[in-house]
Symmetry: C2
Subunit: 364 residues, 2 copies
Amino acid sequence: MTTISLARGVPAAELLPVEELADCAREVLRREGSTLLNYGPVAGYTPLREWVAARHGVEVSRVVLTPGSLPGLVVLFQVLLAAGRHPLVEAPSYDRPLGILDTLGVQPAAVPLTDDGLELGALERELAARRPSFLYAIPTFQNPSGRTYTEDVRRELIELARVHDLLLLEDDPYRLVHFGGEPPPTLFELAAGDGVVYASSFSKVVAPGLRVGYLIVPPELVGAVEERAVATYLSPAVSLQAALYEFIARGGLEPNLARVRTGIGARRDATLAALDEHLGGAATWSRPDGGYFVWLDLADGVSADDVADRAHEAGVAVVKGSDFFSRGAGGHSSLRLAYSFVSTRELGDGIARLAAAIPAPAAV
Amino acid sequence: MTTISLARGVPAAELLPVEELADCAREVLRREGSTLLNYGPVAGYTPLREWVAARHGVEVSRVVLTPGSLPGLVVLFQVLLAAGRHPLVEAPSYDRPLGILDTLGVQPAAVPLTDDGLELGALERELAARRPSFLYAIPTFQNPSGRTYTEDVRRELIELARVHDLLLLEDDPYRLVHFGGEPPPTLFELAAGDGVVYASSFSKVVAPGLRVGYLIVPPELVGAVEERAVATYLSPAVSLQAALYEFIARGGLEPNLARVRTGIGARRDATLAALDEHLGGAATWSRPDGGYFVWLDLADGVSADDVADRAHEAGVAVVKGSDFFSRGAGGHSSLRLAYSFVSTRELGDGIARLAAAIPAPAAV
């Protein structure tokens, strides 16, 4: 029995625009290879920076293209911590940034996430108690929960952030992968760019293998971010940034987005249908309108670690919830399911296998 | 007047195999794009790992391809420092690793470099006094000095390292860019791989823009290095690694090396000739048999900072020697000249401009 992976938050192979990118890569290397194949500017390929800047309505000097979004976050966290800022995260939060902070020797404050977004009462208490000074958040189609902040929560969060001098770091790689209507505006838009660092990536909308993420940073942080980036990786792979720009310039982005939304949306539908069929009564789960993930809460007292282990034996891989809490301080009855990678049939089979690994609820 | 850069240690544009890499990139993306455009394995594209492993006679599991060599060094330093090892560097040393150590909050011990390699008496004293436990070194065509350790120094260094449990980190990106005979064997070869971590890159032999470096790590460190690499950048750009492998598999490496050796060798010749012509009596300099750099020692008491500033006003950029000492603790009468980037004519003109910026020696 082949293991079905509901663990990997990566796009299905069929959604990658292979032929188009192959042609774009050759075209840009032929045309500009003598610069693209040398060390590039640390902030990346200028035409793509300009495109990102125009899309977000900012000065091009504020856009730093990074080799995937994770190295951008590493650099940014280093800069913010060096400036004496203390972090706050969502609970649950994306595990990699938690790992970065842990490596940097910092334990973040944490505020619970609800179906509407960050729990603002808890946020106020944390702001008063521990005085964190930057928030790392994924307000739209969050990893790991699939949840999206309402527009009201966004506006209140921005107001609280202003009052408490809390810098907002909005990580937004899933926004364009929506299955219904547009999600609420970004924090960056609602705050008119003030007090918000915006991070995103082309991994979920074109291809992760391009390794192109980006940051939009306040003017006063640009120098420090670029300096730290040079010190960490010298320059990103500008040839891939150029190939991506060529793909966009040829009009490839919108048709690709349509394909991604349809392909991932069908997987979300299959996932929710299979959960309804196999797990009704045994768990509750988020109902994402976009992105890659469903968050599953098992009945109180059911060990997600045990379920994940049994599920693995039964041929389905999931990620245990505690991976998404700083130092494992939560999520012990939760699981993250990624529906982006496998086929709709495998999603159905995988969730059936998972259901068999969950203990029946105790009789009342 | 356009500034002539003797500061940039990057290859001349004409030495990059643009057309070949453009074709290779398209070929591998067409053939394997559905995997190459997704997240890749953190240790890199398997066929290229196998090729590197065969070339160095090691198990493929010990080869970690990195997105340029610098991120590999960042990861490795983090792993070694976390294991409680304290660093030792050459004086002068490549400035980027010094910067990494500084960011990590560590000031390395340092041992002077002579024309024959590391000064072994000074090394013994440092080993006794400060007990450093890993050495970062570029034994062949060093950056910044252009110097190469003799085989005798290499053998004695390995022996000392064994006695003192000093792990050797051999950074070797310039080895294949030799202009005369082969340089002495690597520390890695002489020690039969024992107690040596080997780092290299394809930046100087094919193209920096590919962002392909590699580490050969002892089996017991592989897990920690891969874990830290995932946490830092998730995965390297495997499509560029595949394009590079295709270039090698098509037989492109050796002809390209011949071209690079000829092109950079002619620049080295022009540099030494211009130094003899313009700077005889005012300075002494290294005579590299390979690599990108000449190290210039001005007369005692002449400020390299002042000379670098005046040279910049006169239209030639050089790097001041103190950049290559931890926290600027040396090199105040030295300069690094890079001859890899500009044309032989510009090298001659640049060195003439530099000469005019150096004060005449005081009359005896």
